[in-house]
């Protein structure tokens, strides 16, 4: 490994014992998170593959199910999440430039936007219970909802809503974990743990947050925008 610049040696902040210098540690952290994101892609990939097969088999049911969802809420949440990616990117930037105040503010802004997303999601989930379209737990669609779902077959519509809950649920769990990580960054960031030479944790959490965003960018069209609704 190359010798660390003198200022890194002197500072010695956050260098774990197994590494020779901060540069090696930072490279390892970044490779580690990218590998982790690869595993996440494979994890969601299995689910997306299953979704693709059933959507192809039962397109009418998936189209009908999609039309039950409130596209405005989905679109609003997309905007909220994209905004949170911006504030996350600004947090990383603030950590790199050593602006501790901005770092904490942007992290908190990211958390607020994440919270808004989860709030909207919770409202949407609640709607599904109200409309009795929760597969396995409360599946008894009626009235207008039934009229939407019946043409594609109720059984197959239930599969659509299973994927809806499984995919957005897994995504929401990732959001909650991300919120926990952000809180941890806020606590450490307030104490001044991150410097222009040691900001890998912020960048690592940032990459994770962007990944979770990207998953939603795929989920929104796949779940909300099936078929010609307009």
């Amino acid at each position: 490994m190359s010798d660390a610049p003198a200022h890194l040696e002197a500072e010695h902040t956050g260098l774990a014992h197994q590494f020779e210098d901060l540069e090696q540690q930072q490279e390892s952290d970044f490779l580690g998170i990218w590998l982790f994101l690869v595993t996440e892609i494979m994890f969601f990939g299995g689910l997306f593959a299953a979704y693709a097969i059933y959507r192809w088999l039962y397109f009418a049911a998936f189209e009908g199910g999609s039309h039950i969802l409130d596209i405005r809420l989905g679109a609003a949440n997309t905007v909220v999440l994209l905004g949170s990616s911006l504030t996350m990117a600004l947090s990383v930037r603030s950590a790199q430039t050593g602006n501790r105040r901005a770092l904490v503010y942007f992290l908190i802004a990211t958390m607020i936007l994440g919270g808004v997303f989860l709030g909207v999601k919770a409202y949407e989930y609640n709607q599904k219970f109200v409309e009795h379209i929760v597969p396995g737990l409360d599946w008894a669609p009626e009235g207008e909802v039934l009229a939407h779902l019946a043409p594609g077959g109720l059984q197959h519509a239930q599969l659509y809503f299973f994927f809806y809950f499984a995919m957005t649920g897994l995504h929401a769990i990732h959001m909650v974990i991300g919120m926990g990580l952000l809180l941890w960054l806020v606590i450490r960031g307030r104490k001044g743990a991150f410097t222009p030479h040691y900001f890998a944790p912020v960048e690592v959490v940032g990459l994770y947050w962007h990944f979770v965003d990207i998953v939603w960018i795929f989920l929104f069209p796949l779940l909300y925008l099936i078929g010609g609704r307009y």
Binding site: Q18, E20, G32, T39, G46
Partner: protein, 542 residues
């Protein structure tokens, strides 16, 4: 737990074993060597559990009518044997024990890149193991280790959810271990240790880690869907409700076929180290052997459909999967030929690790060649679902992976424990295991060819002789496994003290004291030579 007996001698120099005492120093350790020992103790525990299920199965099959248990219980025995042995013994065996211990030592680093993640992965493994043990105690599970739907999701009323949670959780332990190894090998190699100077064990571990990182998440999501289906019956794998049970098989084997290579690749890495050391020669065709590990990892992802030739899979998919399966034989054969070529004109000594390595080559070759019968579409129709399959994968997993694991344990035991074991006993155990193994599983090839189906609690009377042979062999095999357990324990207190490099082997792990200090190396080593530079010591003999 064996932690108490690991306390070393009083006047020893400071090393990772005597650096600290007490249960906290073990359960909260971040030292990769101590975590390796935590894994060693836990996987030995699960090996004994999984082995006991096998013992009961072999007793049952002595009598054509079934000697001791009802068919329902027998179904649970083979299921739990498979689940425990695959997910809780074989997959973590060499990576989590020897890999954990050796990867940082071999790359010349002070620890893995992420020590906390490493400890976390052990705890994840234990939590997954507890779920599985709970499922065994709370009534067992009878689906077979493959959890085929819709039986597992709709019809089985056994502990499917608990065991699914156990397997799901343990998968993350495997993912984190693989991730840790890849980052460590990429970023923490000592100065001068280029990729093509790395020991082949590192190449094998690297290839294995790729599979762990890419494959295991797919198993996780599959098992997750299975658990949801079992709980809520929404129909994702249930044909009655519009679901496709073959989708489960595709997703399951997408991981579980590569998982075979998670088990065998590290053993191949171990064998490369042992063969080079005890033939005193550089591995013949080092680069090809290194690349063949990666080739097996990549090709391994493209062959899963050969488990599904007799399902509803399309004929054309079957043809392609058959062809691709044959391709995996090429890098596997390259390894066998190159090990053999390494032996040629080597100065060979038959210490215990070498006996295991030789056993590995023979048994793996048998297992690999019989795999080709199963990769051929026509013969597979006859052999699928018979004992031929059981014999084939036990030749790979027990004859291959477990032999490799035991060979590795014997090779690095002086480094791990700082003590030597009695070589005579070790050689005897290796011989008993080899004989017992063949006596157990060779008759099963014949049984399968004659048409005896697997997973039945009883069988036609004309198969009894071969079944009794197999059960007798299992007894011999059991004795063979018991002997190392005894003398390795014994050696921890009474064995002669091991010098840093008892085998005269190359490799950075032998350049530090036995057992190594907590920080591995007092000074980070600089590598100036190729791996396996045995020829230089004995120049002139070549």
């Amino acid at each position: 737990m064996s932690t108490a007996t690991l306390e070393p001698r009083v006047h020893a120099p400071r090393n990772y074993l005597n650096a600290d005492y007490g249960w906290k120093s073990w359960l909260f350790t971040l030292d990769h060597k101590r975590i390796a020992l935590l894994y060693l103790v836990s996987i030995t525990f699960f090996f004994i559990i999984g082995g006991s299920f096998a013992v009961l199965m072999r007793i049952q099959l002595v009598d054509p009518q079934g000697a001791i248990v009802q068919p329902e219980t027998y179904n649970k025995l083979f299921t739990l044997h498979g689940v425990v042995m695959i997910f809780f013994f074989l997959i973590p065996s060499i990576p989590a024990v020897l890999g954990n211990f050796l990867v940082p030592l071999m790359v010349g680093a002070r620890d893995l890149a992420f020590p906390k993640l490493n400890l976390l992965s052990w705890y994840i493994y234990i939590v997954g193991g507890l779920f599985t043990l709970y499922s065994a105690i709370a009534g067992g599970v009878d689906t077979g280790w493959t959890f085929y739907t819709p039986y597992s999701s709709t019809y089985s009323n056994t502990q499917v959810t608990a065991v699914a949670i156990g397997v799901f959780i343990t998968g993350f332990s495997s993912i984190l271990t693989g991730l840790n190894f890849i980052v460590t090998i990429h970023k923490m190699r000592a100065p001068g240790l280029t990729w093509f100077r790395m020991p082949l064990f590192l190449w094998a571990t690297y290839a294995t880690s790729i599979i762990m990182v890419l494959g295991t998440p797919v198993l996780a999501i599959t098992i997750f869907l299975l658990a949801l289906e079992h709980l809520f019956h929404v129909g994702i794998f249930s044909p009655a409700l519009g679901g496709d049970p073959l989708l489960f098989q595709h997703l399951f084997w997408f991981y579980s076929h590569p998982a075979v290579y998670i088990m065998i690749l590290p053993a191949m890495g171990v064998v490369s180290e042992i063969i080079a050391c005890f033939a005193r020669k550089r591995i013949f065709g080092y680069k090809i052997v290194a690349f063949s590990s990666v080739a097996i990892a990549v090709l391994g992802f493209l062959v899963w459909g050969h488990h599904m030739f007799v399902t509803g899979q399309s004929v054309y998919a079957g043809i392609i999967f058959s062809l691709l399966s044959f391709l995996v034989a090429i890098p596997s054969a390259i390894k066998v030929f190159n090990w053999t070529a390494t032996l040629y004109k080597g100065s060979i000594s038959f210490d215990a690790p070498m006996l295991y390595a030789m056993g590995f080559i023979g048994l793996f070759t048998m297992g690999g060649l019989t795999g080709l019968f199963l990769a051929s579409l026509a013969t597979d129709v006859h052999l699928n679902g018979t004992y031929f399959v059981v014999a084939h994968f036990h030749y790979i997993m027990v004859g291959g992976a477990v032999m490799g694991y035991l060979g590795g344990i014997h090779f690095w035991w002086p480094k791990i424990s700082g003590r030597k074991y009695p070589n005579g006993w070790a050689a005897l155990a290796a011989a008993i295991i080899f004989i017992g193994f063949n006596l157990t599983f060779f008759p099963q090839f014949v049984l399968g060819y004659l048409g005896m189906p697997r997973r039945y609690a009883f069988y036609p009377a004309e198969f009894q002789v071969l079944n009794v042979m197999s059960s007798a062999g299992a007894t011999v095999l059991g004795v063979g496994y018991l002997i190392p357990l005894i003398y390795l324990f014994w050696s921890m207190r009474y064995g002669p003290i091991a010098e840093p490099n008892p085998w005269g082997a190359t490799g950075l792990e032998w350049k530090t004291p036995s057992p190594p200090p907590t920080e591995n190396f007092t000074e980070i080593p600089v590598v100036t030579e190729e791996a396996y530079a045995y020829a230089e010591e004995e120049a002139g003999h070549e």
